[in-house]
Point group: D2
Chain length 340, copies 4
Amino acid sequence: MKKIGIIGATGYTGEELLRVLVRHESVQVKFVTSEKDKGKLLSVIYPHLPAYKNKQFISAAEATKNPVDLVFLCLPAGESAKLAKIFLSQNVKVIDLGADFRFKDPQIYKKWYFMEHLTPELLDDAVYGLPEWYREEIKKANIVGNPGCYPTSVLLAVIPLIQDGIIKNDSIIVDSKSGVSGAGKAPTKTTHYVQTNENLSPYKAGRVHRHVGEMEQELSKISGTKEQVVFTPHLTPLTRGLYSTIYVKTKSNMAKQQVLNVLENAYKDEPFVHVLHDMIPSVKMAANTNNCFIGAETVADSNTVILFSAIDNLGKGASTQAVQNMNIMLDLPETMGLLS
Amino acid sequence: MKKIGIIGATGYTGEELLRVLVRHESVQVKFVTSEKDKGKLLSVIYPHLPAYKNKQFISAAEATKNPVDLVFLCLPAGESAKLAKIFLSQNVKVIDLGADFRFKDPQIYKKWYFMEHLTPELLDDAVYGLPEWYREEIKKANIVGNPGCYPTSVLLAVIPLIQDGIIKNDSIIVDSKSGVSGAGKAPTKTTHYVQTNENLSPYKAGRVHRHVGEMEQELSKISGTKEQVVFTPHLTPLTRGLYSTIYVKTKSNMAKQQVLNVLENAYKDEPFVHVLHDMIPSVKMAANTNNCFIGAETVADSNTVILFSAIDNLGKGASTQAVQNMNIMLDLPETMGLLS
Amino acid sequence: MKKIGIIGATGYTGEELLRVLVRHESVQVKFVTSEKDKGKLLSVIYPHLPAYKNKQFISAAEATKNPVDLVFLCLPAGESAKLAKIFLSQNVKVIDLGADFRFKDPQIYKKWYFMEHLTPELLDDAVYGLPEWYREEIKKANIVGNPGCYPTSVLLAVIPLIQDGIIKNDSIIVDSKSGVSGAGKAPTKTTHYVQTNENLSPYKAGRVHRHVGEMEQELSKISGTKEQVVFTPHLTPLTRGLYSTIYVKTKSNMAKQQVLNVLENAYKDEPFVHVLHDMIPSVKMAANTNNCFIGAETVADSNTVILFSAIDNLGKGASTQAVQNMNIMLDLPETMGLLS
Amino acid sequence: MKKIGIIGATGYTGEELLRVLVRHESVQVKFVTSEKDKGKLLSVIYPHLPAYKNKQFISAAEATKNPVDLVFLCLPAGESAKLAKIFLSQNVKVIDLGADFRFKDPQIYKKWYFMEHLTPELLDDAVYGLPEWYREEIKKANIVGNPGCYPTSVLLAVIPLIQDGIIKNDSIIVDSKSGVSGAGKAPTKTTHYVQTNENLSPYKAGRVHRHVGEMEQELSKISGTKEQVVFTPHLTPLTRGLYSTIYVKTKSNMAKQQVLNVLENAYKDEPFVHVLHDMIPSVKMAANTNNCFIGAETVADSNTVILFSAIDNLGKGASTQAVQNMNIMLDLPETMGLLS
């Protein structure tokens, strides 16, 4: 039985980790932290998770005194870097669900997150936690930067086409729709039910949203040239779920079946990425799971391919992907606790 | 053209007044106030109401220097009393959408609102603004206490049966379901989309919610004896709408048609209260309108009657009922601007 | 590894069985049937359940030729009786998620379901599948009638108080709110999104809904006298979830803590029934789980107790309760595959 | 007082016409037709519209014997053509909310609607009912083809840029999100609440959806060259509302303010089209109104402009736009009955 801890367990990603780990037969949650709620019983904050009812939130400082095999950091950008260093020095493996370990270049981190990286010396060893593309590296990693939700949905759909050299440079347009849990747990004008229900609104359109940096880093790594992405996220009246509709130009005209074959070849042995051949995925298919569903259409009389990618923003877009990474890092079966 | 003002126009009831008054051909909105947003253009807060885009929020203090025919007070309990006094002294008629002028007895106000009434001397003249039962008094009133949303739905359904002496004393159980706009515009844990969507939760069950005092005052006034109401409000995943399912015991067994006749007789000439004979009302019927839909069932082998009452919590439960009161007070056709 | 089959696997309860059984480590789904879709791959109907993608729907007739340990019948009332008999004759245990094996008396079945029971000879051996109250009988049963969703929510909350003799006879009023999946998968005017979204509507109010018969049978069994229930179900804009707000009169005045103690004593060792002491349950707590959350309030100056009961209509109200029954019948750990 | 009739009044567009015409002071609804429900009282189908409760549905055949000033045809494609001819022959003006009079070329109609046009001789006189661009023609028209919902949202945003010669040919990508009322009133698997709630799914992506033909016709007319549109509509969990996020390439780099100026110049005197300068529109702004809200962003380092367009699919996308056309055709003030 492996021991794990969750740092920052009062947000949605921490809660989702707790929820899925109830079912996991080979790990045990040793501690959960919250600076605001330390000392409180979990039953007060999470009455719907009776499995943890007698456990107490502790502080992160106290947590660093607990020997565990792996910690999940569920913290805002900028807050993970130093804690990660402490845990690594204690031979605790680290999965950061925030952005601090997703970038190789601290300058690019700074460009998108408007702050200096506090432990740039760790970035070389950190692995981008997209198992379908970096499984071997994750296996050996002590620290993994768990991908952002939007990038997960986009990269899984686009990488196979980039890798095959099919896509014209700088032609990628991503129109994404995210459930409201993606906006975080803090009550704001934007997350008020009356504002969000029966509504849909884009935000940070263009090349403005932080996840653009992450997408462009990963796509450029694959193509070997600098890729630009035009990106419009939309807040959508869903609790959970994330959908990306992606428009790319191909170098030559392609039939739909050719595109699907490229995707199928990439993922035919993957347990969590599913290419649909006869239908367009819908976001609900992926809800509450670690699955990603991908589809494609081609446009008559045009070298345009439309890709469709559905995930759960808290699942494959965050916490269950983190558990998948944990399974790999702890040498457990990759699908353990994640099937559905 | 009558002139009106709205005090506290940044909450949902003020916004709804603005929305419906666009269509009203005989009144003109002279001012809208907001202490927090004074100086701002309405186009910044209400981009969806272009009719007002060049108007500016002013302060309540400045508003009292503007001669208008009537003001709507859209303020929390305790904040209307003194402003009402100032406006009345300037011969401005007042409709208070809060609770300060709903109670005749300042002690009962204090019991339910936990504060002293600041202008108890005005309570004698204030009229409870339920037009179907107090139309003549409203016509002559200078100050009207606009009813609460839950009491409006309950009183319209129950008063006719109380008045006919049909209901057993102390047998009234009200199970109400309210849309989230009833919880106000402030972002809280409770009004967060992720908390409220796909959820339903009772709150302040028993004889605890402030509206119990208002219901009991009005029902006791009709029956002449002290009435008690058991009341459970539920926060329901609706933006707008309020539904009350009401269980009462009758003194003798009654057929459904008898009950419907009592209701029909009470409301047959009313433009906004509609008794349904062949179906149970649903809350959507009343959405975005000043209508109340009422239905009834009787229970086999039991002296129980179930009453159903649907309104829009911001419509007949607040702002459009206030406009109905305004029409009466300003001697305009009662349905003006309210038909739909 | 035990072998199971699902008869009628294209409705919501069959789909939910498939979903939860993916995680179950000790049973294997040998067949799923559908008369309409026989021959089709599950991937066509359930693309979101890749675990079953190469499995085909077969007919019920073909299913009866397959040796399995247990079958789930997910069929409309009247269609289970004969199939159950066939499976039983082959020493296959049966869990019927429909109503055919919930009633002891075929006349009462006929009263509520308007048809003759086709295999009344089996009713004596059938056990009502509410594990918290009939665990020992279920262990020995060959056939279990899985409870209805509304009765499950009501019985778990009310039985402890009936058993303790606290409740006045004929004083039970149940106001329930159900998610739309409870209305079944057939597209109808009522289940159309535009009709149901932003709406709430009661139906079959009084003593009319079929589940009244089931509640009254079970409550009368406990109290030893004939119990009547006044029941109003409401269609609520939720995909999943069922909430019952229950009003009962007690023989003497009771403090809230006394009521909670009675409930706590009944369920303190139960893995799936949770009594909340410091908060009122909300329906979302139970979503996607086999849990039932129960709370209580008492009303000042009145012998009224309000009980709150939250379940998932497809979970504890149907399919996961069926899996709980299966675990008991197959001598597996009762919580296997059901924790969350 | 002008007299109007509604042919096919049991769908959503007919219902919405009835709803908004309650408020219209210069027209009177003389008849409403339904082949299926003829003879029934409107109170049976529309209990929430008490203004019409004593009116009966009649057949279309009977309607043609009634002298009115104007009829709205709310019929599926192919069913309006012949009825239109009859009404025109009786000097009744016609607004068709379907597709039969949107195309100038019957071959193009056939290409997208897979049927022969039944009255091609009328197409020359029919005017495309987008008042902001064809007001003068509508004023003189006897027959108007009311635009489709998606085209309305797209054309209002794109036409000004096409007209100014800013957009590169064949570079238009439209990603639209529509409320479920756009899918019509017939209960289907797709419109079932359980399928659609907490979901989002594209359909007919590429150049496949019928509205592509309409967009391309209108844009080509303005630009003078053949325009192609890549179009992905998404079914979105909203009752009402339609949002288009539109990606276009400009011939040269443009600042956001330049784009907004082009839009502002086009619509500065329009009562129903509002260009937002400091925020991105959200779909809720337009709900239940005849308004269209438009915004724009430009993408750094790219000649890409993103346009945002929000309407109500049943409002400006159908019935209130039809009323706007009616006002123009009947020489009434254009905003009558439509302000909000």
